[in-house]
């Protein structure tokens, strides 16, 4: 039986550089590889010996889209190592920063990277010819996320205002009022995007049951700051056990490591995983969007991650508005930075960031210099599961009909890969020492 090989040498509309290789014999997919050829930057070597105050400015540059996520997670880990307790306001402001990052990242991915496939365009720019109003609105939502990051972090990409112990400069009340007004205006726009998503039929990809992993929120609500690591199989682990729970390994076709649970099961992190585990905590418009776009709790179609991100986009705007009002209820102050003593220590940071669970760990010596660092990114955790779903995606197309062209097959594979919103810069720059 003659086989065929489908190769996507350089996958477009994702962050970073990767390709897909699929080998088909008859109606069977015999080989699936997500090749990651992004170069390595060896961040752990860059960090070793650096003073802890420099860690954030370096580690944020693993990836631009995830820069606020790396920043907040690194600060959490460093503060644990140093025994620093930040104020509730700092927690709220970091929460707001992450919501801004989530709005920006999800708006970029759902509207500009993923949606063109569903509407039959090669890019969001091409989409603008017929959907100009939608494209303008989508870009405005993305801009809103950037405005939040600019206001709280000091810059939309690679924040500068974020320090161990707090913030160099706090937003003024008039700035928060202006932001709240803009967030308010975004809500009806999001309703229209939920309507649009509900009208689009998703191609069926059935990879078989998926294990989802996400952090348990620190309160009984839908939150990105977590206290323990939970799986959809009902297991729960303390954060300190993350290295035992998540087993990393290298594969030859990838500059990024892969990950699986202890017994070798691949799993998924990200928006869909968070909604599978904690979707019942959603309130307001986000709850309504969740019930409408993801009605079947048993559906493991990875393409649903696109709609899960849209639900989180609604949640993020609603929650950002809540935080703005909370902050407006407090007195205006120029700076919030606690004093602390430098000491030796080890700390773990874990946050639910747009693409899934992000772990940072640092060990500092008594002078506050980095002795060891470890980062596990969401994309690295997802890659093994993504390859499994690429196989399912290809098989679903093959079962549907033999006459399908390589082009149709490629599009389906690309849609599955993009649904994971892979961040390849992040995945390659795993640090461990």
């Amino acid at each position: 039986m003659s086989g065929r090989t489908v190769v996507i040498p350089h996958l477009g509309r994702v962050e970073g550089h990767g390709g897909i290789f699929v080998r088909i014999e008859g109606n069977r997919v015999t080989q699936v590889e997500m090749d990651i050829f992004e170069g390595s930057r060896y961040y752990e070597a860059l960090l070793k010996g650096k003073h802890f105050q420099e860690v954030q400015g370096i580690i944020t540059r693993i990836c631009a889209i995830c820069s606020a996520s790396h920043t907040v997670t690194a600060l959490q880990a460093l503060e644990e190592a140093l025994g620093v307790k930040v104020s509730e306001r700092v927690h709220d402001l970091r929460g707001l920063l992450l919501l801004g990052a989530t709005i920006e990242s999800h708006a970029l991915h759902v509207f500009a990277l993923a949606l063109p496939d569903f509407l039959g365009y090669e890019s969001v720019l091409a989409m603008a010819s017929q959907y100009r109003e939608e494209v303008v609105q989508a870009l405005r939502l993305k801009q809103l996320g950037n405005k939040i990051q600019d206001l709280i972090g000091g810059r939309a990409v690679h924040p500068v205002n974020t320090l161990v112990g707090g913030f160099g400069k706090l937003p003024r009340h008039r700035e928060l009022e202006a932001l709240a007004a803009e967030l308010e205006q975004a809500l009806p726009v999001l309703d229209r995007f939920v309507d649009l998503a509900a009208s689009i039929p998703l191609p069926q990809v059935k990879p078989g049951p998926t294990v989802y992993v996400a952090l348990r929120p620190y309160v009984e609500a839908f939150r990105f700051r977590g206290v323990s690591l939970c799986t959809s199989r009902g297991e729960e682990y303390p954060l300190s056990a993350y290295r035992e729970v998540i087993r990393e390994f290298t594969v030859e076709h990838s500059h990024a490591k892969h990950a699986a649970l202890e017994e070798g099961t691949t799993y998924m992190v990200g928006s869909l995983a968070r909604l599978k585990l904690w979707g019942h905590y959603l309130t307001g418009r986000a709850k309504a969007a969740f019930q409408r776009l993801l009605p079947d709790p048993k559906d493991d179609n990875p393409l649903l991650n696109n709609w899960a991100q849209l639900v989180e986009l609604v949640h993020s705007v609603e929650r950002a508005l809540e935080i703005c009002h909370e902050l407006l209820g407090q007195p205006e102050e120029p700076r919030d930075l606690v004093d602390y003593q430098v000491r030796a220590g080890r700390g773990i940071g874990a946050i639910e960031v747009p693409r899934g669970t992000l772990f940072h760990e640092y060990e500092l010596d008594e002078a506050g210099r980095v002795v060891a660092a470890n980062v596990i990114t969401p994309t690295a955790q997802n890659l093994a599961n993504l390859e499994r779903d690429l196989r399912a995606g290809a098989e679903a197309v093959l079962v549907a009909g033999n006459g399908l062209s390589d082009k149709e097959l490629k599009l389906r594979l690309e849609m599955v890969a993009r649904a994971y919103d892979p961040c390849i810069s992040c995945s390659v720059h795993l640090v461990r020492s």
């Binding site: 350089h10 996958l11 477009g12 509309r13 962050e15 970073g16 550089h17 050829f37 992004e38 170069g39 390595s40 930057r41 060896y42 752990e44 070597a45 860059l46 010996g49 003073h51 400015g57 370096i58 540059r61 693993i62 990836c63 631009a64 889209i65 820069s67 970029l108 500009a112 063109p116 496939d117 090669e122 890019s123 969001v124 720019l125 603008a128 100009r132 303008v136 870009l139 801009q143 950037n146 000091g154 810059r155 939309a156 990409v157 690679h158 500068v160 205002n161 320090l163 160099g168 400069k169 290298t250 076709h253 500059h255 490591k257 700076r335 690309e414 810069s425 795993l430 461990r432 020492s433």
Partner: protein, 260 residues
């Protein structure tokens, strides 16, 4: 340029932050699409033409693999105007910080025992390998500088980007000096401006992310920091990130070694 110029936007190894800054020009993105014929942009488009000759090519990131170098040479060969965007493209940025360490050591530390499958070379700025018509620094680039560059290129000229140091911009913002008042290692006097002294305006010392200004006075800066009781180690560590060229970083590292 009479017709819409054909444009390619490329990322070598890096954080994709400069391409993201282009996507962050939300108000201007539709204008950009109307005025530029963007034929090759893998980060933003599904269908890309990797062959057509380009009027303008934008490249971000460092050369960290053989594949990067091959891609860079191919881009140079097909582009009339090559524009480097971001500190990585201009100076090497963070990835070039530890170039004195061998790749083998780095690979062992990150990937474990036998990482023979890796394609990895010393991280260097693309501007070391091919000539560029224009270089726009920044980590990431400033949106207004990118847009200014596009407008100038559309008019057939090149933009005048600020050449003053961050320190100069900081003075115009009337910030308290991070060196004089807070005794910190601030790279503002050695670093090229254009950011509006963003970090000192947030009460944070300049990290030097836009790369060195023309003819930086490293010696005076180092003496100024040392006079305030800051150790050689701290000065070297901070200056090594972005501002100091490799020879200086190596010199500082040697000084640090002597002190120990």
């Amino acid at each position: 340029m009479a017709d819409k110029p054909k444009v390619g936007i490329f990322g070598l190894t890096g954080c994709a932050g400069d391409q993201l800054q282009i996507l962050n020009c939300e108000d201007e993105l539709v204008w950009l699409a109307e005025n530029l014929d963007i034929v090759d942009w893998v980060m933003a488009k599904g269908e890309n033409d990797h062959i057509t000759r380009l009027d303008i090519a934008f490249v971000e990131g460092v050369v960290a693999t053989q594949r990067d170098l091959d891609a860079l040479k191919a881009i140079r060969a097909r582009a009339k105007i090559l524009v480097g965007i971001g500190t990585c493209a201009v100076w090497g940025g963070l990835p070039a910080m530890q170039n004195e360490l061998s790749r083998e050591v780095l690979q062992r530390e990150v990937y474990g025992a036998d990482p023979s499958f890796l394609d990895s070379v010393e991280a260097l700025p693309p501007s070391k390998f091919v000539p560029f018509e224009l270089l726009i620094p920044g980590c990431p680039i400033e949106k207004h500088e990118f847009l200014q560059a596009v407008r100038a290129l559309l008019l057939g000229t090149v933009p005048e980007l600020p050449k003053v140091p961050v320190c100069w911009e900081c003075k115009t913002r009337e910030n308290l000096c991070r060196v004089v008042y807070f005794g910190e290692v601030c790279c503002g006097a050695m670093t090229r401006g254009g950011c509006g002294a963003r970090c000192p305006s947030h009460g944070v010392a300049c990290a030097g992310c836009r790369g060195p200004v023309e003819e930086p006075n490293y010696d005076s800066n180092i003496i100024m920091f040392a006079d305030r009781g800051i150790s050689w180690v701290d000065i070297a560590q901070k200056m090594k990130n972005f501002s100091a060229p490799v020879w200086l970083a190596k010199g500082l590292a040697k000084e640090v070694g002597h002190e120990r």
